[in-house]
Amino acid sequence: MHILLVEDDAVLADGLNRTLQAQGMQVEIARDGLQADALLQRNPPLVAVLDIGLPGIDGFEVVRRLRARGDATPVLLLTARDAVEDRVRGLETGADDYLVKPFATPELVARIRALARRNAPKSSVLALGNLVLDSGARRARVGERALELSVREWAVLEYLLQHAGRVVSKQQIVDAIAPWGEDLTLNAVEVYVSRLRLKLDGAGVSLRTIRGFGYLLEAGA
């Protein structure tokens, strides 16, 4: 997973580098806007993480040039200012997401992954802990153990895996797995999740209930 990190603050750039590498990402670092612009053309990353306040040309300008070239590389803007204009302008310029410094590390990682998924050639295999879901082969397993899932259970688990580490609401799940107004109630989602929870025992993942809202699937028992 190739990430371009553009940050002029040495301490933050180094910290981000280590953190993202620990997550299994290959990180390339640029210190200023022009360098970033050049690297984006020479070696397009899967995701670009871009600080707004850069020497040379700022992050907005980098995104503007990127989009002007018709390049759709996903961009996550980092901003130290939370002025309304910054947020709005960033997204209007063509950035895909923004995060205000300082950010929670899991939040950053989750957002980069979400953007990467959008850009990645559709991988049919989703994995978390000992759980592997292969959509192509339509097979799921926990370690070496094959997992028997109903169609709806499969859909729910696939959605949760796609959003691993993120809190998702029951309504989001309903909207995602029954998109054409099929009759699926929130209670039904609860039933599928409780069945999944039993089946995922020993998978090295935790499927937490967020009371009154939804679920959070993460690695770890």
Partner: protein, 445 residues
């Protein structure tokens, strides 16, 4: 402190009184002199007539010469007559009359009463002589006091009327100052907009201009201060973010070494605190009434706002093993998205912070308020220690912290209060129906 009103009054009323007094004296003279002349003419005439009668009739007209006083002359005045020789010897009449000094009029005291004496010259038995006629001046006194009485009355009323008029005019002239003061009084503490000088008299324009210039400088200063504060806070964010990542990385590496892990944990906590306070300074900044722009209000849904921050809340709750739950119903309102997010963040953060590990926090929102249909509400309920009744107004003040054990800046609830106020919302703090804890409810109109 000197008073413009008193100064004006002093300089107007003083001279007016002096002028009035002068005018009164003049009037008195103008009224009294002709009266006196008329009295004198009449007395002189009477003396002349007496002299003529004495020449013609002898001493008989000096009938009063037997006694001291002639009969009352019918006008309430007493008179005396006498005939003196040129050498001043009394030839006939009242012996009490002083010998005349020659023809003419003069004043004298006679039997303890002021009199006016007229002397006429005549030829008596071949020798020059003088007829004197003395008459009391009672009528004159009456006329005089009548003049004085009416003058005093007239001038008194006149003076009072003038003073009243001056008082009123001064008040009237100073009215623009009162209006200016009223406009200034009506302002909010943060309102530094220039004064409107329409309807202000020309004389006040320089004052208003100078005042507006001062307001301008104050506003520029306040803005510079705001910008400086925001700038510092923003500048801090990047190094704080860097520090956090470095510490996290180090903590992961040294997780196995309890001493290092403990120390790194404390550093992370301290860093987290700095981050939070920096963010709160910026929130406070955003919640300043003079930065609040009605134009930024937009239709929002509280449920949506809570959802946007939910990831952060859930992670924070998980770190403390708090059961965080939601009861989110559509809660439409008009609001500033960023401020309301600050409000939600601070309320939930506050609950998570002061609820002990293993506790329970519930965030709810919905439409309506109690029995009423309109409005919407946000409720954050915890089962922590709660807030004693006598401290419930205090907790919304800046830098008030109830629990020294828990890290907090004491700004969170002040921010919540400021933002609620800006949105015209009611902020209610209570306790749950059963058990301990605190319930914060914000009712939006």
């Amino acid at each position: 402190m000197s008073s413009i009103r008193l100064r004006l009054l002093k300089w107007l009323v003083g001279p007016i009184l002096v002028f009035n007094l002068g005018a009164a004296a003049l009037t008195y003279m103008l009224a009294w002199t002709p009266a006196q002349l008329a009295f004198d003419d009449s007395l002189r005439g009477a003396a002349g007539a007496l002299a003529a009668r004495v020449r013609a009739e002898g001493l008989a007209p000096l009938g009063a010469s037997r006694g001291n006083q002639d009969a009352d002359d019918g006008a309430g005045e007493a008179s005396w007559t006498a005939l003196h020789g040129a050498d001043g010897r009394l030839l006939a009449g009242s012996p009490a009359l002083p010998p005349p000094r020659g023809p003419g009029l003069r004043d004298a005291q006679f039997q303890g009463e002021p009199v006016r004496i007229a002397v006429a010259a005549l030829e008596w038995q071949g020798a020059p002589a003088h007829v004197s006629m003395a008459r009391t001046v009672r009528a004159r006194g009456q006329v005089r006091s009548a003049i004085v009485r009416s003058l005093v009355l007239l001038e008194g009323v006149f003076s009072l009327a003038l003073i009243g008029l001056v008082w009123f005019s001064v008040g009237n002239g100073l009215a623009p100052l009162s209006r200016l003061r009223a406009r200034l009084d009506a302002r909010g503490s943060a309102d530094l907009a220039p004064l409107d000088d329409t309807g202000m008299p020309r004389e006040l324009a320089p004052v208003v201009d100078a005042f507006n210039a001062l307001l301008g400088r104050i506003e520029a200063g306040a803005r510079a201060q705001d910008e400086f504060r925001a700038n510092v806070a923003h500048q801090l964010r990047t190094p704080l973010a860097g520090l956090q990542l470095q510490l996290e990385w180090l903590a992961a590496r040294h997780a196995a070494d309890p001493d290092s892990a403990r120390s790194l944990g404390l550093m992370l906590q301290a860093n987290e605190r700095m981050i939070r306070q920096t963010n709160q300074l910026l929130s406070l900044e955003r919640a300043e009434p003079n930065r609040f722009a009605r134009a930024r209000l937009q239709p929002l849904d509280l449920a949506q706002l809570v959802t946007e921050s939910i990831q952060h809340f859930v992670e924070q709750a998980a770190a403390k093993d708090i059961d965080l739950g939601f009861e989110l119903e559509a809660a439409p309102l008009q609001g500033d998205r960023f401020l309301l997010r600050d409000l939600v963040d601070n309320l939930v953060d506050n609950a998570l912070r002061y609820t002990p590990a293993g506790g329970r926090v519930t965030v709810a929102c919905g439409a309506g308020r109690e029995e009423r249909e309109e409005g919407s509400f946000l409720r954050v309920e915890d089962n922590g220690p709660g807030i004693p009744v006598h401290l419930r107004t205090q907790v919304f003040e800046r830098f008030v912290r109830l629990d020294e054990q828990t890290t907090g800046s004491g700004l969170g609830l002040a921010i919540v209060r400021d933002i609620a106020n800006l949105h015209g919302a009611d902020l209610v703090l209570g306790a749950p129906a059963a058990g301990s804890g605190a319930v914060f409810i914000v009712y939006f109109p």
